[in-house]
């Protein structure tokens, strides 16, 4: 009997700290029989049974590099056909459009999840403890699952802390595509999901045990 190999491809399109995502996925996959590859090869992304799309830095640069690397098409195919996990700008790129980029123009995204990516507008506002809101939001914030609770939150208690570093956040046009929320000057979407797609604004790879739990759930997720 032919064994079906569960392979997860971490997409390497030359942006940001891909290594830490790969390290955490590898760690989460240890002893699970899941094969983790880090690849810049479109064919390998197509052949993988699931895909992780990291992203760090500015959205215009990430979109440009994704296109230039020839990986945009295989990522779109993955979004239409198999479990896909987007991280940070890898999440933001899934939306229709981001305000990040040339003033008044922004940057078009992949349009896989309807909605916009907008900037935190918190200038001059203070938090409950009297301290000023800073942008980027940098640090640990609590994430609460929206209802119905997504399968990837399994074993992750509501209000768990995750590590965020970002100035922009997603605003899905369909509220059902928000899978988790956090509060920074008001509730904002910390995770999006639709069908076979799950993506987080925070960095599971930098969020200690709860982050690894999320990746572990993804490796065995069958949407």
């Amino acid at each position: 009997m032919k064994k079906i190999v569960n392979t997860v491809a971490v997409v390497d399109y030359g942006m940001g700290n891909l290594r830490s995502v790969a390290q955490a996925v590898l760690h989460a996959a240890a002893d699970s029989g899941v094969n983790v590859i880090i690849t810049a090869e479109p064919a390998q992304v197509r052949a993988a049974s699931r895909v992780v799309l990291p992203g760090q830095g500015a959205m215009p640069d990430c979109m440009r590099e994704l296109r230039a690397s020839g990986l945009l098409e295989p990522v779109l195919e993955a979004a239409a056909s198999k479990p896909l996990f987007g991280v940070c700008v890898g999440m933001q790129m899934l939306l229709d459009h981001s305000a990040e980029g040339p003033a008044g123009v922004g940057t078009p995204g992949l349009g896989v999840i309807g909605g916009e990516v907008v900037r935190f507008d918190l200038a001059g506002r203070t938090q409950a403890d009297g301290s000023r809101y800073k942008v980027p939001q940098m640090g640990w914030n609590q994430v609460f699952a929206t209802q119905p609770r997504h399968a990837l939150w399994s074993g992750v208690p509501d209000g768990s802390w995750f590590y965020f570093v970002h100035s922009f956040y997603a605003r899905p046009s369909d509220a059902r595509h928000t899978a988790g929320e956090a509060d920074y000057g008001g509730r904002f979407t910390a995770a999006v999901a639709r069908d076979n797609i799950f993506a987080t604004q925070f960095h599971p790879e930098k969020s200690a045990a709860q982050g690894l739990a999320l990746y572990r759930n993804f490796l065995h997720w069958n949407p």
Binding site: G16, R19, S20, Q23, L26, P136, G139, Y163, E205, K206
Partner: protein, 259 residues
């Protein structure tokens, strides 16, 4: 709500984590992965590795340490000390660092902050500022305030610390690591006036450093200094306090922390 962060700082030289008393009598402090894992277990929000190697020849020895820690400990890692170029940033990020901290190199060539943040994003570019209260002729000439020192605190640049922090944030620094040279090593607490002046002047997060002797000093840095994070070395290294105790004290003082 966003938690205020506690960041233990580890000194690295010759490829090992060391601890010393006032920069002398450096002793091997143990395996970097074990130390990092211990702080992680205690609830540290990030770790900062400071390369205190005096010569550039040995500088690359920090890379295997970062690689080893990054493969086992999944919280943000910052590396500072001897970071000079965009290429240094690339190598450290590739080794598994999440942020890199510039100090003297940013003073010698501020453009490097623009270049590095444009290439890798502000989120991974920290500017460390060593500040000292003006005294003597400088105080008489320019009034009260703090000057920025470079080269490990040996050289007064004549730059005003608050203005410099503002400029670095404009240039793309995603975070300011602010050390009071007057307080560093004294255990008398942060220079709260300095911390507040810088923190209120910039829109990016500020990490307070230098002078922590008690757990209440950490809380003061947040509440009175308006810092977004607090960094400490000796109180954690010598086992006086654990990170968990520090967080418990901060929580008692009404500060949001990740526990």
């Amino acid at each position: 709500m966003l938690a205020k962060r506690i960041i233990p700082c580890l000194d690295v030289t010759g490829g090992r984590v060391v601890k010393g008393v006032n920069f002398v009598e450096l002793r091997d402090a143990g395996d970097p992965v074990e130390i990092a894992a211990r702080y992680n277990d205690q609830g540290a929000d990030e770790l900062t590795f400071l390369d205190i190697t005096a010569t550039s020849d040995d500088r690359d020895l920090i890379l295997p340490i970062i690689e080893a820690v990054a493969s086992q400990v999944f919280i943000p890692l910052t590396v500072g000390g001897g970071v000079r170029t965009v290429e240094d940033v690339r190598r450290l990020l590739n080794a598994g660092a999440d942020k890199t901290s510039f100090n003297s190199a940013a003073i010698a060539n501020p453009q490097v902050i623009r270049d590095a943040s444009a290439r890798y994003g502000s989120q991974c570019i920290v500017v460390a500022i060593d500040a000292k209260r003006r005294f003597g002729a400088d105080l008489l000439d320019r009034g009260e305030g703090w000057d920025v020192y470079s080269h490990g605190g040996r050289k007064n640049t004549g730059l005003d610390a608050v203005a410099w922090a503002r400029q670095m944030a404009e240039f793309g620094a995603g975070e300011i690591l602010l050390t009071s040279m007057d307080r560093d090593g004294t255990k008398a607490g942060f220079d709260l006036e300095l911390t507040r002046a810088v923190s209120d002047a910039v829109d990016v997060p500020v990490i307070a450093s230098g002078g922590v002797g008690t757990l209440d000093d950490l809380a003061d840095g947040i509440q009175q200094g308006h810092a977004d994070a607090v960094l400490a070395a000796s109180i954690f290294h010598y086992g006086e306090y654990t990170v968990a105790q520090a967080k418990a004290r901060m929580a008692e003082r009404g500060i949001t922390v990740r526990i």
